[in-house]
């Protein structure tokens, strides 16, 4: 996936698609390259699973694909990071409590 993105043109295509689906023509418009070159980049993005495209009539519409999975992965990463933070804080709390002469909570 990172290889697919390791190119300025493909990154700008993904950034454009992150704002919503677009036709190949729309994707190509801001890029200083030929349409076949754009299609080649699109092919790399589709092979990587990042982008899906669909042809209706004469218009090929492209959209970002793995958003649901990315979202879940993001929550999972957040949850894991949250627990690491909590367990660290628990350790700090226990050692601070141990240093205090009074075992009971004072504040």
């Amino acid at each position: 996936m990172f290889a697919a993105l390791a190119d300025t043109s493909r990154r700008s295509m993904v950034e454009r698609l992150s704002r919503g689906p677009a036709s190949v023509k729309e994707l190509a418009a801001p890029l200083p390259m030929s349409l076949p070159a754009v299609l080649q980049h699109l092919h790399v993005l589709e092979t990587s699973g990042l982008v899906r495209s669909e042809k209706v009539g004469r218009v090929r519409t492209c959209r970002l694909e793995p958003v649901a999975l990315q979202t879940a992965e993001r929550w999972i990463a957040d949850r894991r990071a949250g627990w690491v933070r909590h367990l660290d804080r628990l350790g700090e709390y226990l050692s601070n409590e141990a240093q205090s002469p009074n075992e009971k909570e004072t504040d």
Partner: protein, 154 residues
């Protein structure tokens, strides 16, 4: 909206220089738990409740800087004092369910004193969040991860 359910299990082992009773109390006592089980900085909490007994509920709504509301709604299902705490919980974002999880906290007296803690969490994470702002954030994170991975390379 595309539906998906992604499962994940993770586990963390920690050792603390405190007896199991004290570690247990850090989970069981509301005042003690509030000292370390806190939300991210710059956030505020609402709807806070804590009923530590089997069948009892714990709730917290965390509101982060941009106003997004994350609710934590837990039910304690299995409590063995000083040894084990199990609860199920759901998380919602602005009322929309993100995940449902089982958290298991196991405490054992360490071989050389202190407490060995094992936290295991099993969860299912839902889609339901395929909205433009998350799509954008997701992509930005992806691009940031890319930058990082490229920088790390020799």
């Amino acid at each position: 909206m595309e539906r998906s359910a992604v499962h994940d299990t993770f586990s963390y082992d920690r050792h603390y220089d405190a007896k199991p009773e004290r570690v247990y109390r850090a989970f069981a006592d509301p005042g003690a738990k509030a000292r370390w089980f806190t939300g991210p900085p710059e956030s505020k909490q609402e709807d806070v409740s804590f009923d530590f007994r089997e069948g009892g509920k714990e709730t917290t709504t965390t509101i982060i800087g941009d106003g997004t509301r994350f609710a934590f709604i837990a039910t304690y299902t299995d409590i063995v004092p000083d040894e084990r705490i199990v609860y199920t919980y759901e998380m919602t974002m602005n009322g929309q369910r993100i995940s449902v999880s089982i958290a298991t906290i196991e405490l054992r007296a360490g071989a050389a004193g202190g407490t060995d803690l094992v936290l295991t969490e099993q969860g299912v994470y839902f889609d339901g969040l395929d909205q433009p702002q998350f799509r954008r954030e997701g992509t930005q994170q992806l691009l940031a991860a890319l930058e990082a991975s490229l920088t790390e390379e020799p």
